[in-house]
């Protein structure tokens, strides 16, 4: 019996796949998230609520808009305020930009090199320059939307507890609209790169309980649950080989992200793509996000009302939203002076950990342990689009 530890590449953060080999065949597989734990749940304790969005957006750069909005919403609930419609609307546009950026980064920079057996997007430039350029420009569109709506593409400072700080300039909004219209015409021809089954290795359907948040409820296993019951659905377990807490439901793996959303909302089959249906679902979501962003511009927003005053009080608030990679949940207990007593952040990658392991088993168990096995395992993990900085933000209990 031998163990092989293969470092993951082309994923956000540090991690490895641990392969156990017996008589030349794979007999067991684990995924370890190895980023340095930064303890954001501890870090925000004792800090004033107004400081929290600025701090927690730093859990992860790719998901910073989602963290910032989720934190603001949870704190607003704890503090008993609702933000003006224009502020909610601008946050929605910010999240659409974040989705376009995150999916474009994943599909073109992390996944696409595998399709041409390349190590990196730099190598790929010699083979498929037009597609790579298109992917980078699409990602830039996502960055631009976040800059305009959030003030910055990474760690958007425009979102604060109580609303947003400023409404974007008209000329910047017009530029965003122009580029969105351009991409609405351009994307359908590119989407096929990621929906074509021949692009991926064969894979079994992902067997996990799909999870997403819709209208403030956790949608899971065919039923909708109040968000406040999250601890009953997302059962956290610490394992000794991974720095990230794993989540499960009554022992079963959970799946969050584009594929889970597609299966829950459209009852969509995987079209024989197995785990790689996640990439196809992301590609479709990019198109939908472009359409939704264009539709956003048809709205009427009263930019004079962007925030409400917020006074400290004791309370508890929980909010969840669909981050690009899946359900992201923030929960805070506040003391009467507005400081954080306790915080919990549950990220999609932490939720997906067990599904990654069980799916690796389902696709690879008994396979010959040759040179290709590690790359194949890495490709499967990559399809889940893990974000390890996000997953490893917690202190272990």
């Amino acid at each position: 019996m031998t163990n092989r530890y293969e470092l993951l590449t082309r994923v956000e953060g540090a991690g490895e796949v641990q392969l156990q080999i017996d008589a030349g065949r794979l007999v067991a597989v684990r995924v370890a998230m190895l980023d340095i734990p930064r303890g954001f749940d501890r870090l925000v304790r004792g800090r004033h609520f107004s400081e929290v969005p600025r701090l927690v957006s730093r859990v992860c750069a790719i998901c910073s808009a989602a963290h910032r909005v989720a934190a603001a919403r949870a704190l607003e609930q704890a503090l008993g305020v609702s933000v003006p419609p224009a502020a909610s609307a601008l946050r929605e546009l910010l999240l659409l930009g974040a989705l376009i950026e995150s999916h474009a980064l994943h599909l073109f920079l992390l996944v696409y090199p595998d399709m041409h057996r390349c190590d990196s997007v730099a190598e790929l430039l010699a083979i498929a320059p037009e597609q790579v350029k298109a992917g980078l420009e699409l990602r830039q569109l996502g960055c631009l939307i976040q800059e305009v709506a959030g003030g910055r593409a990474i760690h958007p400072p425009n979102v604060e507890v109580g609303g947003v700080v400023a409404w974007p300039d008209q000329n910047e909004l017009e530029e965003v609209f122009k580029q969105l219209c351009h991409w609405q015409g351009r994307w359908p021809a590119l989407q096929g790169l990621f929906t074509d089954g021949n692009a991926y290795p064969s894979s079994h359907p992902v067997e996990a309980l799909d999870l997403m948040v819709a209208n403030g409820q956790l949608w899971h296993d065919g039923a909708k649950w109040p968000l406040a019951d999250y601890a009953g659905i997302l059962q956290g377990v610490d394992v000794d080989y991974s720095h990230a807490r794993q989540y499960r439901h009554n022992g079963s793996p959970l799946l969050a992200g584009a594929l889970a959303r597609a299966r829950l909302m459209a009852g969509e089959a995987d079209n024989g793509l197995g785990v790689f249906a996640q990439c196809a679902a992301q590609a479709r979501e990019i198109g939908e996000a472009i359409d939704s962003s264009i539709a956003w511009f048809a709205g009427n927003y009263d930019a004079r009302q962007l925030s409400v005053p917020v006074a400290p009080r004791a309370g508890f608030g929980v909010a969840a939203l669909e981050a690009p990679r899946g359900t992201l949940l923030h929960a805070y207990h506040l003391a009467a002076d507005g400081t954080v007593v306790d915080a919990e952040i549950i990220t999609p990658t932490a939720i997906n950990q067990l599904a990654m392991e069980s799916h690796l088993s389902s696709d690879l168990m008994g396979e010959k342990a040759d040179d290709g096995l590690s790359a194949w395992a890495a490709q499967i993990v990559r399809a889940f689009d893990p974000c390890i900085s996000c997953a490893v933000h917690q202190i272990r209990s």
Binding site: L7, L8, T9, R10, V11, E12, G13, A14, D35, I36, R38, G39, R42, L43, R47, H48, S50, E51, R54, L55, R58, V59, C60, A61, I62, S64, L109, L110, P113, D119, S120, V121, A122, E123, L125, P129, V132, K133, L136, E137, L138, R139, Q140, C143, G151, R152, A153, I154, H155, P157, N158, V165, A166, P168, D169, A375, A378, S389
Partner: protein, 235 residues
Amino acid sequence: MNGAGKSGHDPLRVGLIKLASCSGCQLSLLAGGSALVLRLQWIELARCPLLSSAPVSPAGCFDLVLVEGAVESAADVELLQSMRKKTPFLVAVGACASGGGVLRGQGLRAVPEVVTVDAIIPGCPPSRSELVTLCGAVARGGLPAPLTGVVCLECRAQSIPCLLEAGQPCLGPVTRAGCQAACPGRRIPCEGCRGWAEEANPEEMRRLLQDCGIASALIEGRLCQFREGAHDQSL
């Protein structure tokens, strides 16, 4: 080492190290659509697990090593020391690496506390243009001239209306220039993510924040979050 005497046509071999971080600093270097395509033609990401699966030769040298994030363990220190031997230019990139950033007070260390750095690039995240300027300077065998001045001056140069005068708690007066006043340019107060400028007058800034109605208990947290050094500050 292959740094100083490079021929003009070899790509710049850059190594990226991620410690306790959010990947935002790396992503800043990798921002930009077609501009990134051009950058990838003269910058070789010789060690960048985020973007490349290419194996890194243990003996290989780098023209430039960029370190993102704060230092946690003995293994981190060892990695930094071994990279130090492989490059003429090792640079701490971003607030976490330079001074702890949002991780201040969490028992981690900044990169300059454990290894000699040739420069720090401030910001959370740092600006893309500053990182590209750094790579360009190193490709020519040197380092960029350090930036001087505060964000306030960049506002004035662009005729951006002053947020402090409008009663908003902007840290422009104490914060290092170099982002072209990115946030005030969008009417959002500067959170000081580029750290304190040398000429910063924190006393004056405390008073200005008070005038904006910031409760005194919150002033230090706001003012010192992205400051380097000063680990005596009880944050």
